[in-house]
C-alpha cells in the first residue's frame, strides 16, 4: 500500500540553553535607594523584586528588556540602565550580538522572532544586508504558508537534472534520468569547525539532520562508529586521494562530498561511481576568482552537486564576497547554459533566517548552514571561530538530545521564516526562488536609480 501523504513538520520543543548568554542590559541600583519600591511596581518583567527581608533585592539583569520604566519612576534617581559590555563583546563584526541573541531565542523556542516597533537596524549594509525581497501587492496573489492555510513547498532536489527527455519511436523513455535526492528544506549542515568537532557535536548534528530529513556533512576522517545509524543523513567529506581508504563510507552514503583539488575530477568521479554507482557526488571548493570556471568544469565532467564555500573570516572582512560568490557562479553557469543541470549549494556567512532565501535568490539551490548551529549550542564566535583549546563554552559538554533539539528548533524557526518570505512573494515553492534576482531589490541599484550614479 502506498504511504499516505504526509505533511512535512518540524517538531520544535522548548530546549533551554546550557550556558546562558550574558544579559543585554545592566541595571544598577545606587546606594541612595530608600527602598520605596517604586521600581518593583514599575517593572512588568520582574527585574526588581523584594528579598525575604522586605528590602529590594539585587536587580535580575536577565529579565530586563530596556523599557526604562524603573529609571523614570524612581523618585531618587537611584537606578541606571546601561548596555552590558559582556553582551556587546559577543560575536564579531559580522555575527553581531543581536544576531547571536536571535539564534539563541530560535534554538530555545523554535519560534519566529516577533517584536514590536519598526525596524531598528542600519538603513542597509553590505552583503546580505543590501538586499530586500519583493512582495506581492494587489496585482499578484500572495500565499499564506505560515498559518497553514495554503501549501508552500520548501523541498529541493539534490543532484543532476536533464535539460530534456528523449523518447524512442514507441514513445518509450530512452533518456537515462539521473538519480536525485529530495530534501524537505533547502538547508543542510556544513561540517563543524575542526576545533569544535567531537563525538557529541557530531552525534547531535547527525540526529538533527536525521529528524529534519536533511543531511549533515562530516569530515570522513572524524566519523565515529556511533554515527553508523545515521549514515542515511550524513555526507562524508573526503580528500580526493583518500577515496579508496573510505570505500566503506562511499558505499554506505547517498551523497559523497569531495574536496576539489588540482587532480583529475573525471577520474575521481569514476572512482566513486565504481564503488557506489547510485551515490551523488558533490564537489566542495572555496570561492576564488576562478570559482565560476571550476563550477562549469564540474558540471561538464558529470558531477552532481557543486558546493561553493566562502570562509566565515572572508565574509567578516567583506560581507559582499558571499553575494559576489553566489551571483558569479550562478550567472556563469546560466551563460554557459549548464545552470539547470546541476545543484548549487552555498555556504558561509549564514547567520540568520533571511540569509537562506537571500542565498537562494542570488542563485543557490540550497545552503549549508555552518557556524549558526554552533552558535545555537553556545559558540560565541569569539576568536573568529578558529581558536581551539580555550573555548569558554565547550560545545562538547552539551547533552546530545538537547543539542539536537536546539539545532532542530533553530531550523524550524528558519523554515517558518522562509515560509513568511515565500508567502509574501507569492511563491508556491522555494525551487522557483533560485536566481530570481528580479524579485529582489539591491541597495546599490536603488541608490543609483534614485540618487544617481557615484561619480
Amino acid at each position: 500500500m502506498k504511504v499516505a501523504y504526509e505533511r512535512y513538520h518540524i517538531a520544535v520543543k522548548e530546549a533551554p540553553p546550557r550556558v546562558k548568554l550574558p544579559p543585554k542590559f545592566m541595571v544598577t541600583r545606587y546606594n541612595n535607594c530608600t527602598n520605596v519600591q517604586e521600581c518593583m511596581q514599575a517593572c512588568v518583567y520582574g527585574v526588581h523584586e523584594a528579598g525575604k527581608d522586605g528590602k529590594i533585592a539585587e536587580p535580575i539583569h536577565d529579565l530586563c528588556r530596556g523599557c526604562y520604566m524603573c529609571v523614570l519612576k524612581c523618585p531618587k534617581s537611584a537606578i541606571s540602565i546601561g548596555m552590558n559590555p559582556e553582551f556587546e563583546k559577543l560575536g564579531n563584526s559580522y555575527f553581531s550580538p543581536d544576531m547571536i541573541k536571535t539564534i539563541y531565542f530560535e534554538a530555545e523556542t523554535g519560534r519566529v522572532p516577533v517584536s514590536g516597533a519598526g525596524y531598528t537596524g542600519p538603513f542597509a549594509g553590505e552583503g546580505f544586508d543590501g538586499i530586500w525581497f519583493d512582495f506581492s501587492e494587489i496585482v499578484r496573489p500572495t500565499r499564506d504558508g505560515i498559518h497553514g492555510r495554503e501549501y508552500i513547498s520548501t523541498s529541493v532536489d539534490l543532484g543532476r537534472r536533464l535539460q530534456s527527455l528523449k523518447f524512442d519511436q514507441k514513445h518509450e523513455l530512452v533518456s537515462n534520468v539521473p538519480r536525485t535526492v529530495e530534501i524537505p528544506i533547502p538547508m543542510i549542515f556544513d561540517a563543524p569547525l575542526s576545533c569544535r568537532t567531537g563525538p557529541n557535536l557530531q552525534l547531535a548534528l547527525a540526529k538533527a539532520a536525521s529528524e529534519l530529513k536533511t543531511f549533515a556533512i562530516l569530515d570522513a576522517r572524524e566519523y565515529s562508529s556511533e554515527l553508523t545509524r545515521y549514515t542515511a543523513s550524513l555526507i562524508p567529506r573526503i580528500k580526493p586521494d583518500e577515496i579508496d581508504s573510505f570505500e566503506n563510507l562511499v558505499r554506505m552514503s547517498q551523497i559523497v562530498e569531495v574536496e576539489l583539488s588540482d587532480g583529475d575530477v573525471e577520474d575521481q568521479l569514476r572512482n566513486i561511481k565504481a564503488i557506489n554507482p547510485s551515490t551523488l557526488v558533490c564537489f566542495y571548493f572555496p570561492y576564488d576568482d576562478e570559482a565560476p570556471e571550476r563550477a562549469d568544469t564540474i558540471v561538464k565532467t558529470g558531477g552532481d552537486i557543486v558546493h561553493l564555500h566562502v570562509e566565515d573570516d572572508a565574509v567578516e572582512r567583506d560581507p559582499d564576497v558571499i553575494k559576489n560568490a553566489i551571483r558569479s557562479v550562478h550567472s556563469y553557469l546560466v551563460e554557459k547554459r549548464t545552470r539547470d543541470s546541476i545543484t548549487l549549494i552555498s555556504s558561509g556567512g549564514i547567520g540568520e533566517a533571511a540569509h537562506v532565501p537571500k542565498s537562494i535568490i542570488l542563485g543557490a539551490n540550497a545552503v549549508a548552514v555552518g557556524i549558526a548551529y554552533q552558535i545555537a549550542l553556545g559558540c560565541r564566535v569569539c576568536h573568529g571561530g578558529k581558536h581551539s583549546e580555550d573555548c569558554p563554552i565547550n560545545v562538547e559538554d552539551e547533552d546530545v538530545e538537547l543539542a539536537a533539539q536546539r539545532i532542530t528548533n533553530m531550523i524550524g524557526a528558519w523554515r517558518d521564516q522562509l515560509l513568511e518570505v515565500l508567502g509574501g512573494m507569492g511563491l508556491r515553492e522555494v525551487r522557483r526562488q533560485t536566481g530570481e534576482v528580479g524579485r529582489a531589490m539591491f541597495h546599490e541599484d536603488l541608490e543609483a536609480k534614485v540618487f544617481g550614479e557615484k561619480e
Binding site: 541612595n32 516597533a117 531598528t120 501587492e137 496585482v139 521564516q417 534614485v450
Partner: protein, 516 residues
C-alpha cells in the same frame, strides 16, 4: 492661499512635562570626591547644568567610590560646554555621556531623536541639546541634507523665533470629482493604529490632538470604539484584510476611508495581534474570541488585479459617497505600477508605507528584509505619476520611518505631498522603542497595551497636549525650512517635475543633497 491658512486655528502650546520623577539624561556629571574641595565654583559657572549656586549635595556614592551629583531634573548641555570641568581648581569633575543614554534607542531612532521628541512634546520647543533632525542609520533621510544645513549648525528654538509662519496646509482631494475638499493645516496626519495594538486612551489622545490641529488620525484595523465617535470628523476608518469591527456604519461615519492593502512593517503578511493582547474588550469590538492570536489574512481575497481594485474602491464609494478614499500600499519592486493602478481605481490619496514602518508586532525577518525603504519609493512613484501626467490629481502621503519634521520636509522634497506619522506620536507619549509591544501585557509604559492596570499611565488630556506640542514644534521647523529656502508654502517644496539626482545633487531645485 494665505487666506486658507488664516482660517485654521493653531492650537495652544502648553507645557506638559513627564509625569514621572526620574528622567533620562544625556550627560552624566561625575565628581571625584577625594579631589573635590567643595568650593562650589562649578555651580557658579554652570549655565544650566546645576542652575543655581546651591549645589544639591545630596549626592550618592557609586560602588567604585566616586560621587555622582544628583541632578535629576536639571539637564547638562554636555561636552560642548564643560565650563565646570575647565574651571574646577582640583580637576575633580568629569562629564560624559550617561550609560542610559548610550543604551537608549537604536540606529534609526537614536537616543537623541527620542529625547528631542520628548522635549518637543513637553514644551513645544526644540533645543540644540539634541540632534533633532536625523538618526544614525547611514542611509535614506539620514543621508539627505537641505542645502542650508550643509554649513549651518544644529537647529534650535532661538533660530526659529523670528521666523514668520508659512503656509504648511495640504489639500487632500486633488481629483475635482465633486467630493469634499478637505484641507489640513499641517502636511501630516496620524497613522493607523488599532484598538488592541494601542490602548483606548492613546487612541483618544491622538484623536483629540488631531481635532485640535484639524487633521486626522486613523482607527487601524481593530474596529471603531464608541468613545471615538465624538471625534468622528477627524478619524479615518481603516478597512483592512481582517475586517475586524468594520461595518457599513463605521464606513459611513468617516470623511476618509483607508483601504489597507499592505503595511510597511510586514509587507506581504497580514496584521498580527498576539493572544495576550486580545483582551475581552478588544475581542468584543473585533467580534472575535478573546485570548487567541489574530493573524489577518493577506491580501484582500477579492482584489487580485487592478480591475478588482477599482471595484473595491467603488464599493467603498457606494457605501459612503462623501468620503475620500485613501489606498495604503507598501513598496514592492513595481510600486510605481501599483500607484498608477490606484490612481485609475479612483483613489484620492495614495499612502506609500515604506519597508521600515512601525508596528505593534511583526516578524523581525519581515521588518528588515521585505520591501524597499520609503526614501526610494517616493521619487520612483512621483516620477512615474509625473510621466503619466496624473501627478497633480492624486495626493501622495509617505509613511514608514518618518520620524522628524525634517524627515517630513525631505519626503515632500522627494515628491510626496505629506506624511503619515505613527511611531513619533507614540514617542511623544513616552515610547522608547524598546520593542516589547507585541506580547504579554504589552507596553510597560501603558501605550501599546490594553491591560487595564497599565493603560491608565497615559492620561488622555496629557497625551493629546503632548502631540499638539510636538506638531507645534514641527510647524515652526517647517516654516524655518521654507524661510531658509525662500519658499512661501510647503506645496512649493514638492517638485513639479521629475526628481533626478546628478552626482548626489538634486537637479531641479538644488534643495536636497545626498551625502556619500
Amino acid at each position: 492661499m494665505m487666506q486658507a491658512e488664516l482660517l485654521f486655528r493653531t492650537p495652544e502650546t502648553r507645557p506638559m512635562p513627564s509625569p514621572y520623577p526620574g528622567s533620562i539624561e544625556k550627560y552624566e556629571v561625575i565628581i571625584d570626591r577625594p579631589k573635590c574641595s567643595m568650593c562650589g565654583i562649578c555651580a557658579e559657572v554652570c549655565p544650566s547644568c546645576i542652575g543655581s549656586s546651591t549645589i544639591d549635595y545630596e549626592a550618592y556614592q557609586k560602588p567604585d567610590g566616586y560621587l555622582r551629583l544628583a541632578v535629576p531634573k536639571i539637564s547638562c548641555t554636555g561636552l560642548s560646554c564643560k565650563r565646570c570641568v575647565d574651571k574646577c581648581p582640583t580637576n575633580a569633575i568629569s562629564v560624559k555621556l550617561s550609560p542610559q543614554y548610550v543604551a537608549l534607542g537604536d540606529l534609526r531612532w537614536t537616543g537623541d531623536l527620542i529625547l528631542s521628541t520628548w522635549e518637543q512634546a513637553e514644551t513645544g520647543r526644540i533645543s540644540r541639546r539634541y540632534e533633532s533632525r536625523v538618526g544614525n542609520s547611514g542611509g535614506g533621510f539620514d543621508k539627505l541634507r537641505f542645502d542650508f544645513e550643509l554649513d549651518g549648525e544644529g537647529i534650535c528654538q532661538d533660530g526659529l523665533l523670528d521666523v514668520e509662519d508659512r503656509d504648511t496646509s495640504l489639500a487632500l482631494n486633488k481629483r475635482r470629482d465633486g467630493r469634499p475638499e478637505i484641507r489640513i493645516p499641517i502636511p501630516v496626519y496620524g497613522a493607523d493604529m488599532s484598538f488592541g495594538s494601542v490602548s483606548l486612551n492613546v487612541m483618544l489622545a491622538r484623536a483629540k490632538a488631531a481635532e485640535a490641529w484639524d487633521t486626522f488620525t486613523s482607527t487601524g484595523e481593530g474596529g471603531y470604539p464608541d468613545e471615538l465617535i465624538q471625534y468622528m470628523d477627524h478619524v479615518i476608518t481603516q478597512v483592512a484584510t481582517g475586517h475586524f469591527g468594520v461595518t457599513a456604519e463605521t464606513i459611513k461615519r468617516a470623511r476618509i476611508i483607508v483601504l489597507k492593502y499592505a503595511q510597511g512593517a510586514k509587507p506581504g503578511l497580514g496584521g498580527h495581534l498576539l493572544a495576550d493582547k486580545v483582551t475581552p474588550d478588544v475581542a468584543k469590538i473585533r467580534e472575535v474570541v478573546p485570548n487567541i492570536s489574530l493573524f489577518s489574512p493577506f491580501p484582500f481575497h477579492n482584489v487580485y488585479s487592478v480591475e478588482d481594485h477599482y471595484r473595491h474602491v467603488q464599493l467603498m464609494e457606494d457605501i459612503n459617497p462623501k468620503a475620500l478614499i485613501s489606498v495604503k500600499v507598501s513598496t514592492p519592486t513595481d510600486v510605481d505600477m501599483v500607484a498608477i493602478g490606484s490612481y485609475y481605481a479612483g483613489a484620492h490619496i495614495l499612502q506609500i508605507d515604506g519597508g521600515f514602518g512601525g508596528t505593534g508586532a511583526a516578524p523581525d525577518i519581515a521588518k528588515k528584509n521585505i520591501a524597499m525603504p520609503v526614501e526610494y519609493a517616493i521619487p520612483i512613484v512621483h516620477n512615474y505619476l509625473v510621466k503619466e501626467g496624473v501627478r497633480d490629481e492624486i495626493t501622495i502621503m509617505a509613511s514608514g520611518g518618518i520620524r522628524t519634521a525634517f524627515d517630513v520636509a525631505k519626503a515632500i522634497a522627494l515628491g510626496a505631498d505629506g506624511a503619515v506619522i505613527g511611531t513619533t506620536e507614540l514617542v511623544a507619549l513616552g515610547c522608547k522603542r524598546c520593542e516589547n509591544c507585541e506580547r504579554g501585557k504589552g507596553c510597560p509604559a501603558g501605550i501599546a497595551t490594553t491591560d487595564p492596570a497599565l493603560m491608565y499611565f497615559i492620561d488622555m488630556g496629557w497625551g493629546s497636549q503632548r502631540i499638539i506640542n510636538l506638531y507645534s514644534s514641527w510647524k515652526k521647523q517647517w516654516s524655518y525650512i521654507l524661510h531658509k529656502l525662500g519658499l512661501k508654502s510647503i506645496r512649493e517644496l514638492r517638485p513639479r517635475c521629475e526628481v533626478e539626482f546628478r552626482g548626489g545633487r538634486f537637479n531641479h531645485m538644488a534643495h536636497l543633497d545626498h551625502l556619500r
